[in-house]
Amino acid sequence: MRALVIDDSRAMRRIVSSILNGLGYEVRDAGHGREGLDVLDEGWIPDLVCVDWNMPVMDGLQFVSAVRSNPAWRRVTIMMVTSESEHTQIVKALAAGAHEYVIKPFTADAIRDKLALLGLLPEEAVL
């Protein structure tokens, strides 16, 4: 399975990528939403996108809206991974088309549990 991690913090990209790698995902990353769209435009379509909210150039909410406006990417599952924890912000992200929401700080188990809920745990991680 493929995952795209989008966060303007290299540290956070490394942490999330490491968790997903450990679960068996093939992972690519991007520093903001526009770079993330570039990856999709290349034809590298992930099963999962983990995207931060506050980023320069294109933020997470704009990225979600852009992905949802393209029918070719409708199968992509999007999980917001962000420190935006206000209820109204969460509702906004879900309304835009995100499937799940993980609030920083999180643990590896929290990511794993969300993926299990989404049916996106690779087989090797379930065993």
Partner: protein, 170 residues
């Protein structure tokens, strides 16, 4: 007949509670502890004790803009910030840390702490991208909440500080 503007209405609508009316140090401590456990690990918890910051410090902060406007600032020694970066990145840390690595990691810790402080304040509020460097000046000592801790025996301070100067005394 027009009523002369005495400023009364403007002043009453401009009422802005200081951070100490909105949050207490224990809440900040819990937020920082949670961030630490998740990002840095639970093996090296923060000790709630003050310490003397060294001369060579680094700050990372995010700004909160909303009913309360200010910054959430983390400050520690430059060497401790580098150690924090290694702890945060774990086995993915590069062999040779550059300033950008430290700024990025320390900024992300400030982002996580700031985001959760924002969530505990009256909203809606906006959150800026993290910045790293010399901390913004404290503009109103009455609108300041500070928590001091030790990590690996080294001091770290967390300040939630208002961005606005005190209102003129009437």
């Amino acid at each position: 007949m027009t009523t002369p503007d005495t400023g009364e209405r403007r002043r009453s609508s401009d009422a802005r509670p200081p951070i100490t009316d909105l949050m207490d140090p224990a809440t900040v401590q819990v937020i920082v502890d949670d961030a630490w456990t998740a990002l840095v690990g639970e093996d090296e918890p923060l000790i709630p004790l003050p310490g003397q910051l060294p001369a060579d410090v680094l700050s990372a902060w995010v700004d909160v803009v909303g009913p309360w406007t200010g910054s959430v600032v983390l400050t520690t020694g430059a060497q401790t910030a580098a150690e924090l970066t290694r702890a945060l990145l774990g086995e993915t840390a590069p062999e040779l840390l550059e300033y950008e690595d430290v700024a990025d990691a320390f900024g992300e810790i400030a982002n996580v702490v700031g985001g959760n402080v924002k969530a505990a304040l009256p909203g809606p509020s906006g959150l800026s991208l993290p910045e790293v460097g010399d901390a913004p000046a404290v503009r109103n000592p009455e609108d300041l909440l500070r928590v001091d801790v030790l990590w690996r025996g080294q001091p770290l301070s967390i300040s939630v500080q208002g961005a606005l100067p005190p209102l003129p005394v009437q």
